[in-house]
Symmetry: C2
Subunit: 376 residues, 2 copies
Amino acid sequence: MTADDRFRVTYRIAAVAEAEARERARGIALEQTVEIPDDVVPDGFIRDEIVGRVEHLGPDGTGAFEAVISYSPDSAGREVVQFVNVVFGNSSIQSGIRVTGIDTGPEITRRIPGARFGIAGLRRMTSRAQGGLIAPVIKPQGSTPAGLARIAARCVEGGADIIKEDHGLADQPMAPFEDRLRAVADAVGDANARSGGSALYIANVTGGGGDPIAQAHRAKELGATGVLVMPGLLGFQTVQALAEDPGFGLPIMTHPSFTGAFVLSPDFGIAHGLMYGTLQRIAGSDISVFPNVGGRFGFSEAECRSIAAACRAADGPGVPIMPSPGGGMSVERAGEMAAMYGQDVVYLIGGSLLRHGERIGEAVGAMRRALDAVEA
Amino acid sequence: MTADDRFRVTYRIAAVAEAEARERARGIALEQTVEIPDDVVPDGFIRDEIVGRVEHLGPDGTGAFEAVISYSPDSAGREVVQFVNVVFGNSSIQSGIRVTGIDTGPEITRRIPGARFGIAGLRRMTSRAQGGLIAPVIKPQGSTPAGLARIAARCVEGGADIIKEDHGLADQPMAPFEDRLRAVADAVGDANARSGGSALYIANVTGGGGDPIAQAHRAKELGATGVLVMPGLLGFQTVQALAEDPGFGLPIMTHPSFTGAFVLSPDFGIAHGLMYGTLQRIAGSDISVFPNVGGRFGFSEAECRSIAAACRAADGPGVPIMPSPGGGMSVERAGEMAAMYGQDVVYLIGGSLLRHGERIGEAVGAMRRALDAVEA
């Protein structure tokens, strides 16, 4: 394996002096690989190849330091989970360390291909050659399967590209997984047939207390044409296992539930673009949901732009995927949103849609027209 | 379902005025359940039962506010993932909110039983009726299966109660999962037979890029007598699925990799005792690993004590489990550690053990004698 095969991670290290930053960087290089003191590291392959290498260290311009550490692809094998474990496993528990860059390098790219469909595949499947995709969210939790199915049908008739389930729909007594899936899949299928549409039905998968990979396959049998997965709760392996399985072969949308702590402090955790862009791509997500600027969450416009850029970067990892801002989207903001996100984007439209009751389809149609007007 | 069946979550809310805190609490109650604006919530079952209820709000004594919100068990169903999703899914992304208390209540306790073995079961399996258990960690990453097996054998002969694999051993070219498991399981089995011991072999499970639940079953076939799972990377459902499966029936140790961001700020995330105690118990962990005070991580003595207390609380959820501090453990600190943690504890002994080379078993024996001396 050549030096260029190694993958590189950039860390922001809070330290007063360069010597302290260098010692912390060396500590990360050990902690994330062999997890033993330097004097115990065996000479040869383990010391030369497996232990992380501090390739660069210097001031980062914000009063902290930036360290680039390279790792052997063999530390990760071909597992996304183990890749992330090397990037930021135990070091996540040490304050003052934030992951600010990931360069997977050619070997990890060969081993872990990323998304199966990406932007191009989603446009083909939804027959939406250009313009932002509209994805109304089916909710609320507590509704019956029939109630959720009726909302889904209205939204398809209104021109939705994707029917996305709320991430809070699991396997609950008021709408058990099997009943919900059958009802909504049938409703979306019938509405597509009536309207000549090709809306996807992206069903939420939580595992039912058991195995979410098995449950995703069951979702497909029941008629889902895509799945929603929360990697912060279900692990990146759930995404990877489904993305790499040709026998599954449906698009995957990932949801940020439970992941806020990773991004909220500049002093630790993981940068926004990496968390909701790069890592989702490596895992195999086709559409990455994140909290939109101006909604109920505190992400800035710059943070949202960095996420969209990381999702769509032409140079990988894997194929470009769709960023999917959620929260604060409305007909009134369509122009502003289109100017900010461009066309390769999936707009989530959530709770506010329910204000329209049985006329929810008309609200979806109004959003389509507003986007078409500004995107033309 | 009665009001007492609801589960209760305490949140610390950073706010200047009580009215602001109350509005944020009401926001959490909506966000974590129906995820729609208040004016759109359907009357009846959804408004009355499903939407979270702010049961208490008041100053918390640190300049912030404390809100207790109750939720319907039917929001969670019987899934640990969905339970955590209700406790702190989207609200995790809103700064100024920290989970500081979880009371599962009787109905969730019935639906989600927790650990299969706990402290009592582990003592029975390891034949260690009293005193702290000693768990040397097999590493480093990059070693061959034979090299890891040799270390494991020496540690069993020295009196180890548990052979724990490093969480960085996955399915890598230098020690593929199947080869590693066979070699270490055989070595531990042989050493147990020679020494009359009953050390467990807790193998690390990452899924190999696929399904960690299936891989855990394979680990058992290959001779592992317990598994190590990283819920921060593999999800709590991996723990729940294994803990609840009588066909699996092995103890589960959980590891904190990738979870640091949850606890590092007092302003957001999850309190230490909940993250490494309560949530692990709900998921079904029998032994919860966490970074020990005085090692390479910054946890305070009070934080470590809160974790140990949460693992061992007599009133649930589920049966009491073993806290397992890692880092900074040595013969010299045995007295201090035994005074701090008492007897129901699994001491991880890591990289420093490797200094002893082929005499690593003697180092394990010295630790046993040091603990016995102070615990007698």
